[in-house]
Amino acid sequence: MTFIPLFFALPLAAAFIIPILGKIAKSIIWIFVTLVSFTLFILALYGVAVTQQFPMIVYEMGNWPPPLGIVMAFDSLSAFMVLVISILVFSGSIFSWRYMSHYTGTWKFYTLYMLITAGMMGVSITGDLFNMFVFLEIAAISSYALVAFGVDAEELEASFKYMVMGEVGGLTFLLSIALLYAKTSTLNLADMANTLQVVGQTPFFWLVLGMMLLAFSIKAAFVPFHSWLPDAHPAAPAPISSLLSGIFIKVLGMYTTARLVFNVFGLSRGNAPVFFNVLIGLGLLSIAFAGITALNQKDYKRLLGYSSVSQVGYIMLGFGIGNFYGVAGAIFYILAHALGKGLLFLTSGSVVNATGTRDITKLAGVGENMSTTAWSFRFGSMSLIGLPPLVGFFAKYFIVLGALKAGFWWLAIVAIGLSVLTLGYLLKIENNVFMKKGRTKANKAPFTMRVAMVFLVVLIVLFGVGFQQIIDFLVGPAANALLRGVEYANLVFGSVGVSF
């Protein structure tokens, strides 16, 4: 039980040890960060194992009981998110050793890297609304700084744009917290769920929910609010692009939306069909619009950025369908997209590191020497497009299955049809960069970069082949945690003081 606060205490402590290490011994910073991320990975695996037996672990900070003090509510969904975060943080930290070697002030990079990790971990395990806001802002502020890390003109501009959009989202979230506190006089998520059940679906309820949806749509980059992402994610260093696109937008946008809508506001397709149709609409709009825009891009990372906007739409689609298969598919898609898009951004980093350009028209011939990068790209793309037996196929399969079970047969057809867009823009990179013969000379990617990429490829194949186990032990319990609805509150209050 004592391991729960370590998820955010460990990276926070590491973040502030790094500046001191930077003065004494610069060379061991990378080893230190990798060790911390590996420890987090092991802790996350342990957390998943523990949640098999205990569906909810409540950790009282400073022994203050739930409605008064801040609690950490660690359930299957939190365990799932923490595991995905730690996988990407680990692979990113391995990758960043050689990639960051030509930047100055790498200790600043690693400090921010650990802070962003702590923020995301905190958002996924907290059981308190304001605490969620604080962790969300820790992660967001670190990400603004990381996007501007290269201090080139474009990076600064992208960072400022991102900051303006992101802060509008963050402040909207804060405003909705103020309104919710005025109505319910509590900040604890479980207590708030109980109080909101009494309030009922009044206009006030929908106003606050709408504001939260707006805030999280900005953070998750759904289509009317997506314009910052294709600038910000490519501007960051590649390990950070991988982290931001892979998991950051999902923790700050998708996880928070799902947790609040299902567990706190207590909505389901049964009692609020219109709201869930809005979610489906948002999802479809993102998939179609960003997918078509991605087809016209010439910049390697910018294309992947638009692709992220498009893929996030599938996750919202799954949540919008709202039955078990839809929600499980959405959660599975978080895993699949985190691994796939994380891997694709790492390959972009490897290519940029070797050639110094991101323009795909100038990269022909890179694939000859960089075979590991090329094959990693192929595996990541195949997973995202949805070819069996890779993990992306099963994620998409579950969403389509959910749509069919809910009676939206047209939605199933559209969702399958729109994955042609994914095929289109990923083939564009494949054709122009890795297949085409050309004169661009590139050296083999450094060993640690290849290790990071192969690590993710292995996971993509492994999670795809063993999808039944993933559903049984990881995704299924997480989906049930969401579909439990406001039972969440009783579970939190019932698990206080349960130790093991």
């Binding site: 004592t2 606060p5 205490a9 926070l12 402590a13 973040a15 502030f16 040890i17 500046p19 001191i20 003065k23 950790y59 009282e60 900070m61 400073g62 022994n63």
Partner: protein, 144 residues
């Protein structure tokens, strides 16, 4: 950065120590009176910023104090996390107030809270000062 006129310098020499002491007072009495680590740290940082604004500084000096400040900042944050983790290690709960609470309204009371305030005071003082130094450093970039 250029300094200011003789009048400002003389007055600052007199009061800067008092400002500093006042910041420390606010930090140490955070658990008894309004204030605490954040407010105290801001006042301390104010004294440090005032010194640079009034007496001026060389780029090399600013660089040196930036390095020193970042170490102080890390130490403050580590102290705070150390107190929280001490609760986990000694008494088994993160952030547990494991020290004796003492008599209310005594300076040594309220368990770990005064120590948290000191850690926050160091962190905020150093943090604000380093923000000032970072913003001040941009002017050298702008010039060339």
């Amino acid at each position: 950065m250029k300094g200011m006129s003789l009048i400002v310098r003389t007055i600052t020499t007199v009061i800067i120590g008092f400002i500093f002491i006042y910041g420390i007072y606010i930090t140490l009495h955070g658990h008894l009176t309004p204030g605490g680590g954040f407010a105290g740290g801001v006042i301390v940082a104010g004294a440090l910023i005032l010194r640079i604004l009034v007496f001026g500084s060389e780029p090399a000096d600013e660089k040196k104090s930036e390095i020193r400040t970042s170490i102080f900042e890390s130490v403050g944050a580590l102290l705070f996390i150390g107190i929280a983790l001490a609760g986990l290690v000694i008494a088994g709960t993160f952030f547990l107030n494991f020290l004796p609470k003492g008599i209310p309204f005594n300076l040594l009371s309220a368990g770990i809270i005064p120590f948290c305030n000191i850690a926050i005071g160091i962190k905020v003082g150093a943090g604000l000062f380093s923000i000032f130094l970072a913003l001040a450093a941009v002017k050298y970039v702008v010039k060339d």
